[in-house]
Amino acid sequence: MNHGPLRGANSAPSQRSLADTRAPDEGDGVDTSPDVSDSIAKTTCYMCACRCGIDVHIKDGKVRYINGNKDHPVNRGVLCGKGSAGIMQHYSPARLKKPLLRTGPRGSGEFREIAWEEAFSIATERLSRIRRTDPKKLAFFTGRDQSQSLTGWWASQFGTPNFAAHGGFCSVNMAAGGLYTIGGSFWEFGEPDWDNTKYFMLFGVAEDHDSNPIKIGLGKLKARGAKVVSINPCRTGYNAIADDWIGIRPGTDGLFVFALIHELLKAGRVDLDYLLRYTNAHVLVIQEPGAADDGLFARDSGGNPLAWDRLAKVSVSATDNGTKPALTGNFEVDGRRCVPVFQLVADRYLRESYSPDAVAERCGIAADTIRRIAAELAHVAFEQAIELPVAWTDWAGRRHETIKGRPVSMHAMRGISAHSNGFHTCRAIHLLQVLLGTVDVPGGFRFKPPYPRSAPPGPTPAGKDVRPMTPLEAMPLGFVCGPDDLLVDDAGTPIRIDKAYSWDAPLAAHGLMHTVIRNAWAGDPYRIDTLFMYMSNMAWNSSMNTVETMAMLTDMDASGEYKIPFIIYSDAYYSETVPFADLVLPDTTYLERHDCISLLDRPISHADGPGDAIRHPVVEPDRDVRPFQTVLIELGARLRLPGFVDDDGSAKYRDYADYIVNHERTPGVGPLAGWRGKDGTSIGRGEANPDQLQRYIDNGGFWHHDFAGDQRYYKMANRSYLEFAEYMGFIPKAEPIVFQLYSEPMQRFRLAARGHGRVLPPEAERSRIETYMDPLPFWYAPFEEAAVDLEKYKLHALTQRPMHMYHSWGSQNAWLRQITSQNRLFVHNRTAAGLGLVDDDWVWIESINGKVKGQIKLVDGVNVDTVWTWNAIGKRRGSWGLKDDAAESNRGFLLNHIIGDQTSADANGRRYSNSDPVTGQAAWFDLRVRIVKCAAGEAGFTEPQFERFRQPPHFEPSPDKLNFGAEFRRAREAAE
């Protein structure tokens, strides 16, 4: 065989080209070697959050074909169902064509086209006035933004704390749960060791985050015969190929995990050596009820946490590696009673209330199954441990001749995240991994650089001091370590419009985009002037309580002014949110733009090395549209924001591409890490390189650095890795990262609830803070479940995106919508039988928040107490270039209509955002419903229905027929 070096994920012998690829002499006239493309541009996909490398084949100026880039670290040549339908995304008839200014009532879709100059002057005049008077009256929320290091910096230079992207309603529980525990997180900042793991547990992954890397990984596990256990109420997608599907009741994963921990502790199957080396298990916790430092760590005069030396019987620095720390016991240090963290862990999880028998019924999992999985975890972790023959040196200078691993790995996402108990559940899963000694070890869960960082990483969020014409002192989003870091005023009132970093959501590391519209409408905590949004469908499938949300967007005060006075929105397509904007800034498609997928933000690293990537225009726009980031940079210059203008007031950056190359966040550190320095020979740090983008393009659109063999594991304590991370600016100092089983920052909030400290919660918030800021993970019933009549609303209701539309603007895609254009409500056969329902019935799906009508499909592969549907298939008539008879707006439905955006009133009459009380993560999956067969005359169409949007000027009706590709064939035949 004549094969070059094998590249890509699909390179098994049974996946390669034929040994002899010469065409046989068939004589049937088939052209077996047609010309494919004039050029191939390598860039980065943007139809979800994976950031895969793509090869875009251009023929006669059009996109002929897109395939995966085999060299790319994220997708290694494969491409998902969306990526391969990118042509239809790019050529969608729903693309906006020109800036729009509203002429009719808000929400009608009546606009006039305006020139970019007019758009800029309107925005500049308005924002300039806000900045001169009260910068926080600009709320800038950027949705599915992959450029948050720019957009966040723009907000901070403008001087508004009111900035976030969509993480608050997506995954902040996973991010914060991980970052406050192990200094990394599932998905974005970590991945299973697909090549070495033998036992993989997948929690609540709804065919989603992330796409191709998980699929490639599952393919590897299947090829090796590793065991896959999925914990998910739905048996679709990844869960369909699991060896063991645990159809858990939604919202009870924490209980299930605690029962596993209970079993492992009881049997002495935890890795004590690992706990001592890499966690705070031995750190002493002060036990002085009523004292101001109760529950904080005992510290020496230098502030170092203390441990108890079992042999010397004295307290010692917990980071001193020459000691013999106790993990259990009860000690007196400076006259104060202290216990090691691990004692508290054991005390809590050995309780009978966390035993398999105690949780089985609530979880819907047999106690024997829980016991079996605990036994399997222990067996694989401890009896099937692995060692890689690679020497490495830890932070203390101790040399290890091999890298030892416990080949159990875990991954979790939306099903854990989207509950009001998700933060603690995510912490529980990390606790389980740490107890098994399987974080960043061969076969375990591995960090992706720039993580791990200290748990939590810095810095704190900025925004305490908002003043006209003044930038914030730092970035708006960050990590709090205690009440002093909160963004609240002296009365405890939130400073941010979304109430992030307030007593409502203290650890809101991603902000709460899902609360902005209600809060701005209600003037709670204050009125804003302008809501500026990008790439998030907040008037439809990205909001809870859609019907009321749309009403808030159009509601007026007594003087006839909109309560949210001005809305600027940037989108590439005519989505349901566009008609609610006053000013529309049309964005390009992903093939027409520059972007950087930056280490300052959300890079393309994997566990074996850091990487970043770019997008660059591979086709020219045929419309009067501009890439959003370039527009934002010009707006920054027109507003004369510091950093966006030179000393003479002229624009500092020509466009986003210029910014990507020349911006420096700190000296020598810019958006891209590759080919820095004048001659392009530096990585991580170095002067701006004018040829940097070309170097990326020449390398296939990305940069990636491969770690040396001894840097790849134990990154939290690996000297060689930590020194590299310091050089790259990932961490301030090459010091070990200690996993926080017990979270001291959370205890500080509890102490405030008990009246200790400078910043105290209002009286009414104290019990809530006391309860939920528990420094050890615990389980509580999801809020909606705890508040509704469970006899009436017996069923849990979930949504997930189909894999072919995960995280994407899917519905205007002519190909993808042929796969799914009507979502059904999936109901278990037995559940349906009990309700007298048969397949294809139309039902009302009712919650305490309202009702929506849809058609059911009976299935076996779902938890019997759970119904679910595909999210974001239902569309509003008049949007997305869809015709009036499209299934999406006639039979497809949006469950969001019945998901409340607020909790039921508590004893004080207070309603909170329907969110996790720790992080503010939207609790989409807390929903409880009942389903009722609809009357005969009601069947066949969805409700509620909404007025059809008018079409923007010069929008042509979508075509009745597509024969995309015929032109390539005609050209070939003409050339023959």
Partner: protein, 244 residues
């Protein structure tokens, strides 16, 4: 009626691993994307943004549930032309438009000869034929005949688009007529099966069945966990472990 070759030099085809397919539709759209500009271009979509949308697709994925002795199971099932050894879709063709290549066994349609009578689609029990109403011609999977021998593609890319795209590595390609080929060996190892063999069309493509479900406890030979028995329970165990 159209004759089949007495013998084909190769039996090129696909092998699809049902144990690994997650139903993500990547092969479906990768196929559509390549082929809509390829040998049988275009793969027309009628009413692409409306209520009666109907497009030509050479490859579709269906999801099924079925019951086994061990409980329910969900199987994702990609479906495309199986390039049968004795395909009825060829023998019923009145014009010779539908034919099987003697060289590699690929079943193709010669559009110039196709009169759009649809006999082939009635004859195919696998539903693998797709009628393009816009041009009145029957279309179908070409096994990417314009990729696998294409001198204008890098050699490593000369595989069907669906195989290149598949994110879980569930699709394989090769000569199933050569028992020594990697793909034939894969079929042998994994017990690959024909789809509806009783019909007698001798499909070339094979499906690798989902792994047999075993009593769950046996899949990892893990003994049940026993509580630490010795003095002091778990905490006593911790102390002893640390003292070692």
């Amino acid at each position: 009626m159209t004759c089949l070759p007495a013998h084909t030099d190769k039996k090129l085809g696909l092998v699809i691993d049902l144990d690994t397919c997650v139903g993500c539709q990547a092969c479906v759209t990768a196929c559509k994307e390549w082929n809509t500009g390829g040998h049988m271009a275009p793969l027309t979509d009628i009413d692409p943004y409306g209520g009666d949308v109907d497009g030509v697709w050479f490859n579709r994925v269906h999801s099924y549930e079925h019951m086994t002795e061990m409980g329910g199971r969900t199987v994702n099932f990609p479906r495309s032309c199986l390039h049968c050894e004795t395909p009825a879709c060829v023998t019923v063709c009145p014009t010779g438009a539908s034919y099987k290549r003697a060289s590699d066994g690929i079943v193709l349609v010669d559009e110039d000869k196709c009169i759009g009578c649809k006999l082939c689609s009635w004859a195919c029990p696998y539903g693998a034929r797709e009628f393009d109403t816009d041009v009145g011609v029957m279309k179908k999977c070409t096994l990417c005949v314009d990729r696998i021998y294409n001198d204008n593609l890098a050699e490593e890319d000369r595989v069907p688009a669906c195989v290149a795209a598949c994110p879980t590595s569930a699709r394989h390609f090769g000569d199933l007529g050569d028992p020594a080929s990697a793909i034939s060996q894969l079929v042998a190892e994994r017990g690959g099966v024909d789809l509806m063999p009783e019909l007698g069309y001798q499909p070339t493509n094979k499906y690798l069945p989902p792994r047999a479900q075993t009593p769950r406890a046996a899949s990892v030979p893990a003994p049940a966990l026993e509580p630490v028995r010795a003095e002091g329970g778990f905490l006593g165990w911790v102390d002893r472990m640390l003292s070692h």
